[in-house]
Amino acid sequence: MKYFPLLWATLWRKKTRTIFTLLSIVIAFLLFGMLQGVNAAFQQGVTNANVNRLIVTSRISLTEPLPIAQKPLIEAVPGVAGVAYASWFGAYYQEQKNFVFATPVDIDDYLKVVPELKIAPEQIEALKRTRTGLIVGLDLMQKYGWKVGDRIPLHSTIWVKKDDGNSDWAFDIVGTYNFTTDPSQNNGALFNYSYFDEARTFGAGTIGWWIVSVRDPNQSAQIAAAIDKLFENSPDETKSQSEKEFAQSFLKQFGDINFIVQAILGAVFFTLLFLTGNTMMQAVRERIPELAVLKTLGFSDAKVTVLVLAESLLLCLIAAALGLLVASLLFPMLKDYIGAVKLPTSVLVRGAGIAVLLALATGGLPAWRAKRLVIVDALAGR
């Protein structure tokens, strides 16, 4: 570490240039942190998906309704443990940007197929008693400072109420839920399907999708095929997928996020490679006489090589640390949009790894040049 002051002084020898290079690396790593964080959060939804549940949607599209009459038929499929249903509600609270993932369900059916969902028994009872009852996820409750007993309006972008032609649906909060295995789901809300179904102007007797639990996860592919077979050539053909496949295909709706993220980052780092590499090369070229002096003083070729590499490592690590720090500070602000709270550690670790690779890639050529430098030629300006 006694070489640190030398390294530090060398790094800052051209202040403006170092700052610009540093900034561009910082920005690249900020981008890396944010994009990979978002990506990881999305993929996390896929990872958290349950393996012994199937999601059954209309074959035509995710948003096409299915008749509730399909329920007993699905329940009768061998291997099916339980069947619940839900629908898109498309709600926001007060302002359009305050999207609320509120879902109408039959709570008994729903809890049977989604046992990870924890709700106090008396609150379940309260929901059943209260037509307009709403059970709110822990995080959503906190976000708007709601309390049990509050009456709140949710505006549906899809459904109009038939009694008043209004899209503002009133709800009475009767409890909270905690989704223990996937806290990112704690910013949703659940309400009575009966209220939803009776009050809407159209679509009565239909549901958005089925949630089917299976007894043996190894059988889920066969069961999915059996369900789809059941409705083949009917007006309501179905598409059954495991929850994981569903999560993946849901993400695909927005495009292949993983691919987009990797492509953007690939382009960013490719550019950075040239930018930083050029800076390092230039820095070494300017320093040839100084490097020759170091060698004259008795610094071995190996030592000079290591010094040049260490300089590029120092630059890249400082910049990456700054970029990832800013990313981890900004990331929690995305919580409302993607549900993730904290920049995953795996992203930080990968960032550090990439910083080292970047340093080796950009410092490699200059270091090699410094190593090969012949003292007498450099001193004579040859």
């Binding site: 006694k2 030398l6 100084e290 002096v293 060698k295 004259t296 003083l297 008795g298 007498v376």
Partner: protein
Amino acid sequence: MGNIVSLRKVAKRYTRGKEVVEVLHSLDLDIAEGDFVALMGPSGSGKTTLLNLIGGLDRPTEGEVIVAGEHIDRLSGAALARWRARHVGFVFQFYNLMPMLSAQGNVELPLLLTRLSAAQRRANALTALTIVGLADRARHKPSELSGGQQQRVAIARALVADPTLLVCDEPTGDLDRRTADEILGLLQVLNREHGKTVIMVTHDPKAAEYARRQLHMDKGALVDGQVS
């Protein structure tokens, strides 16, 4: 006293394309410990080449170079680097200081290769700066110093690790008469009072007068005064 430098039948050739240029021709030279030698001669006569061989910056094409008891022509690159750090202090015409380091930082550089603690490195560097009369400028960057002062810093850097010999290539070539005289006086003091062997290339006859002995080179050979 014994010889600190012995060159035996030393030749140095460079290949430029197909052409082979012999810069030094079978040269023999002995320099005694504690001597102050001025190496003179016209430009291109091979003075720098010879000095670089003695200082272990370069290897001969032929012959033996024995300096401070070591056959340095036989040392590997890394061993030669270690040997230089231990035995030779270099002073160049254009000072060759690190622009981003202070005078103190520049003088401490060679000590990074020793086992000295940070405190010892600081103390030794300050001592060397005191010897060259620049203790009060320790924190200055080279750009904040005059040419003569920069050369003093370079001499302090050459001295600080207590080398066996000082090798100076035109140390006053870029300085005015008065400043040159100060630098040469300093080299003389280092030779007389600190017992350093000094080998200095110069083409300035006045500068050469500070030395105990003058050697003249022409076209890659010593022309007189080889034997003292």
